[in-house]
């Protein structure tokens, strides 16, 4: 193929296929370069100016998020955010979406999503310690969806298990809107010695740019613009934009990078992974951040395919590659170091002072543009927004459930895929490798201890997009607070947030309104509990044939447990323990699983969330855990009190005998700000004195696996084993 000339690109508007608009192209040629960009240059701009790399549509909204606290060492702008946890240690975390690649090629899409987020963590100099993931699919009704689910789960496990990082948390949910546009979000948490922290920068005249890792092929070219492009039937064939992962090489790369930064910090000035838009994105960002320029010679890039042109090499998204900036005097040390790990490492360029980005290929200067123009000059869009019509129409709708049989409703709800146990999936993930996992998947938050200290890190992924769909602002608040309740229930103090903002096409004013309002909700909740948003990722254009997914912000939250004695799980521990629900229950059925079960859809507005009350309950639970008053603690979410009680009973095959002032229907209400706890009977007075109001003592834990419940309407005796089977087997049955 011969490359089109600069003039052809202009005349034939080839840049449009690559996602650049006319006005963006004019800005580049007339204002920035004052000449026509050639083929390679046009390619670089189109990918760097895509939503995925530039956030041009979402920047305005993202600025609303709080990103400061006394713990923040690094926030948005680096590969991952960093929070101080004392003793010269810090946690590093970030989440990333891999939605479109996973729709097209589920195993590799999911696997490379995991691989990419791990690189973001170790490129900060941190040792990755755990993985989480958030998955959303269409209903499990046809072979196509089941195959997709199987492959995505296998890809996540395949990568994480092989590289040897425990997957300790996540979520899986099913709604119609994700049928053709599944969401695959992965999160990685790492631990850093504060002295080891490396910025992703390329500074200092004549310092060297080193390429490390797998060879470059043509994979994933234009993956970044592809991710920002909405989905239609015809594009399903766009297979060439998918990358292939190799966790074995990544393990070597991870170990090598962590070791070189820890043992030889003076060798490495800056380090960055090659993620979306590979070589161009990583090197341009490193130079731009440092105020430097860069000269690259592509002939030195390790290649595994022949006759790749400059455009292909710069944009390739081949996996398992890193870029380092090093001092020339350590060149041999660095190259030898990586050789010992049997990794390719070569010098591909040099830092300059002229702020130009210059690329040579086969002796020819193929790119010569201001480096900042790739990263800083991207136009920012202020999109029109309008409140979705459905919200106006359904504002006063109030779902009133009818419960004929508490027992039947309860058992049916336990079988709902969104509520049923996800063990079928998470048992295929190694959750214990590294022998630090204190709480595995299956409780509220995953917990990893920090070896050699009393500390542990709690982590969770949360998103209930049904709520966000019904009311983006309140739904955004709920997503944060639900995550926080998970952390608190595990015995932790919430300290920070990462997110994946998954939405439809931002050019649709209703979608943009959803984005804006939910981010405002997220921000207000994060401010309330002092959990800054220190990293994240935006995935727009999640649509299929012009129908958008629910607005789906995924909140990844990390908490600190200062003493592992505080680690708490959701499982009831002993017969005779008293059971309490903390927080008042109201009729919150809009958006509930019960509404979904009884009507087949969700509808109506959400009640505003009282952030002060929410925080009070979290604080009280933390105090109670701190005073060792709590035997088990579980956050109430989908399916309400009934589901929380069952889940707490299942683990140790215990039962309960309770009497409540709630109606049978209210057993399934999804009122926020509530916890289910069990305590030793001897701690009753002390516990009640601490909590003061807003609690109800329900009864006690029993040895027999029987659920005895008296509501305001009726008394039922349920077989715990049958309930447990419904809950445990539902997903495996559906996946058959």
């Amino acid at each position: 193929m011969t490359e089109p000339t600069a003039k052809q690109i202009k005349d034939e508007k080839n840049y449009q296929q690559w996602g650049l608009t006319d006005s963006e192209y004019d800005l580049i040629s007339q204002k920035i370069l004052k000449r026509l960009p050639n083929y390679t240059e046009t390619g670089l701009y189109s990918v760097m100016w895509s939503e995925h790399c530039s956030y041009k549509n979402s920047k305005k909204v993202l600025r609303k998020m709080p990103n400061k606290s006394s713990r923040v060492i690094a926030g948005p702008g680096e590969d991952a955010g960093i929070l101080d946890i004392g003793d010269d240690q810090a946690v590093v975390f970030k989440a990333e979406s891999h939605n479109h690649p996973s729709a097209v090629e589920p195993y590799q899409g999911a696997a490379t999503g995991v691989g990419g987020i791990i690189r973001d963590i170790f490129s900060m100099g941190a040792q990755p310690i755990a993985l989480l993931n958030s998955l959303k699919f269409g209903p499990l009704k046809d072979g196509k969806t089941k195959h997709l689910v199987d492959e995505v789960v296998a890809g996540i496990g395949g990568y994480g298990n092989c590289i040897g990082l425990p997957t300790v948390g996540g979520e899986v949910s099913f709604e119609d809107c994700y049928e053709n546009n599944p969401l695959v979000n992965a999160m990685c948490v790492g631990l850093l010695n504060k002295t080891a922290f490396k910025h992703g920068t390329a500074s200092g005249d004549k310092n060297l740019i080193v390429y490390v890792g797998a060879k470059t092929g043509r994979d994933g070219i234009h993956g970044a613009t592809f991710a920002s492009d909405e989905f239609t039937d015809t594009k399903n064939k766009q297979r060439s934009a998918v990358q292939v992962g190799n966790p074995f090489i990544e393990k070597l790369l991870m170990d090598a990078c962590v070791e070189i930064i820890e043992k030889h910090p003076e060798w490495v000035l800056g380090i960055q992974d090659m993620g979306a838009a590979g070589l161009v994105s990583s090197t341009a960002e490193m130079a731009s951040k440092a105020g430097s320029g860069l000269v690259l010679n592509l002939d030195n890039v390790p290649q595994r395919e022949t006759e790749m042109n400059a455009y292909e090499m710069m944009l390739s998204e081949s996996q398992e590659r890193m870029v380092l900036c090093i001092k020339p005097e350590y060149k041999d040390d660095v190259l030898d170091f990586f050789k010992d790990y049997e990794l390719d490492a070569v010098v591909i360029g040099q830092v300059t002072t002229d702020k130009q980005y210059k690329i040579y290929h086969q002796g020819e200067l193929v790119t010569d543009i201001p480096v900042d123009s790739l990263t800083e000059d991207v136009p920012e869009y202020d999109r029109p927004e309008v409140e979705p019509q459905r919200m106006i129409d359904d504002r006063d709708y109030k779902f009133v459930p009818e419960i004929d049989s508490l027992e039947e409703t309860w058992n049916n709800l336990l079988k709902q895929p969104n509520i049923a146990s996800k063990k079928h999936f998470y048992q295929t993930y190694d959750s214990q490798v590294k022998a630090n996992t204190l709480v595995k998947p299956g409780s509220d938050a995953g917990v990893i201890r920090i070896r050699g200290t009393k500390k542990a890190i709690a982590m969770t992924n949360d998103s209930n997009s049904k709520y966000v769909y019904l009311n983006p602002y309140v739904g955004g608040q709920i997503a944060v607070m639900e995550a926080a309740r998970n952390i608190v229930a595990a015995g932790g103090e919430p300290i920070g947030v990462t997110d994946c903002l998954n939405y439809g096409n931002p050019e649709n004013p209703e979608v943009y309104w959803e984005l804006d309002k939910s981010v405002e909700g997220i921000s207000s909740a994060c401010e309330k509990i002092d959990t800054p948003v220190i990293s994240g990722n935006v995935s727009l254009y999640n649509e299929y044939n012009d129908v958008a997914i629910y607005p789906s912000p995924m909140i990844g939250m990390v908490g600190l447990i200062d003493d592992i004695d505080k680690v708490t799980t959701s499982a009831f521990k002993e017969a005779g323990d008293l059971i309490y629900v903390v927080g008042e229950t109201a009729d919150d059925f809009n958006g509930s699983e019960l509404q979904m079960q009884q009507t087949g859809s969700i509808k109506g507005d959400l009640r505003p969330l009282d952030l002060t009350e929410e925080k009070l309950h979290q604080d009280l639970i933390r105090m109670a855990i701190g005073q060792k008053l709590i035997q088990s603690c579980h956050d109430l979410s989908e399916g309400g009190l009934a589901v929380a009680l069952s889940e707490s009973a299942f683990d140790n095959s215990l039962g309960f005998d309770i009497k409540t002032k709630l109606t049978s229907a209210q057993m399934f209400s999804e009122t926020q700000s509530r916890f289910l706890v069990s305590i030793k009977e001897s701690d009753k007075d002390e516990f009640e004195k601490l909590i003061k109001t807003d609690f109800e003592c329900l009864g006690y834990v029993t040895q027999e696996h029987i659920f005895k419940v008296t509501t305001a309407d009726e008394t039922v005796l349920m077989d715990g084993k049958k309930a447990a089977n419904n809950w445990k087997e539902a997903i495996s049955c559906l996946m058959k």
Partner: protein
């Protein structure tokens, strides 16, 4: 007693095993690179879990050709302690130091779960701190952990008391629910479950500790 934990490219439970020895039973332990050609000075060798060489070809198949393996074979032949866990077990069967093979789980999927094992033979270097038929809780985490051998081999294993651990239920489709076997001389043990992940109560179980203590016990007896 001084242990070597052999580290192949792609091993990922090497540190878990290292800590189990250093912190769990408080003995000497060192990580040894797969390129080493001598294990002089060590009393026992431990082969950790993970995905050596990415599990390319078959799990354990490529590691067998690494330089350090000659020394592992020497240890085995000299009657010294050799323990392979998970991928280590796979390597030992690939090497022929242990009979049988580990193949893809019956349901084909990876399984991570804490399972109950039955101690079948409590008279070995690896199990003398347990009781016969004692039930212990140990995590498994594998996709290719189904123990397979033909009938003749199985009969031999039984006749020689080489079956050391069995699962209490059919988790992965192993022949006779076998979770761990030794060689005839009983100085080489391979097992799919991870005792090194079960050495502290806070991790869910400390039932694995006695396995490592058994080795020390045994060595003390041999030395005296």
């Amino acid at each position: 007693m001084k242990f070597a934990v052999v580290n192949f490219p792609g091993s990922n439970c090497d540190m878990d095993l290292y800590y189990a020895i250093r912190d769990g039973i408080k003995e000497e332990v060192e990580l040894v690179d797969y390129r080493e050609t001598s294990l002089d000075g060590f009393d026992g060798v431990l082969i950790p879990g993970g995905f050596s060489y990415g599990d390319y070809l078959r799990s354990g198949a490529i590691a067998v050709h690494a330089p350090v393996v000659k020394e592992i074979v020497r240890f085995a032949n000299e009657g010294k302690i050799v323990l392979g866990i998970c991928n280590g077990f796979q390597i030992l069967t690939e090497l022929g130091l242990l009979p049988g093979a580990l193949i893809r789980n019956e349901k084909s999927r990876f399984i991570c779960e804490t399972v109950t094992l039955k101690v079948i033979n409590d008279k070995t270097a690896f199990t003398n701190c347990y009781q016969e038929n004692e039930e212990i809780r140990i995590p498994i985490a594998h996709g290719e952990g189904r123990y397979y051998c033909d009938d003749k081999t199985l009969a031999e294993l039984k006749a020689n008391d080489q079956i050391i651990f069995k699962y209490d239920r059919n988790v992965n489709g192993s022949v006779d629910q076998i979770a761990g076997v030794t060689n005839k001389q009983k100085n080489v043990l391979g097992m799919m479950p991870h005792p090194e992940r079960a050495i502290e109560d806070i991790l869910g179980s400390d039932d694995g500790l006695k396995l490592f203590q058994s080795i020390i016990n045994y060595q003390v007896r041999v030395n005296n």
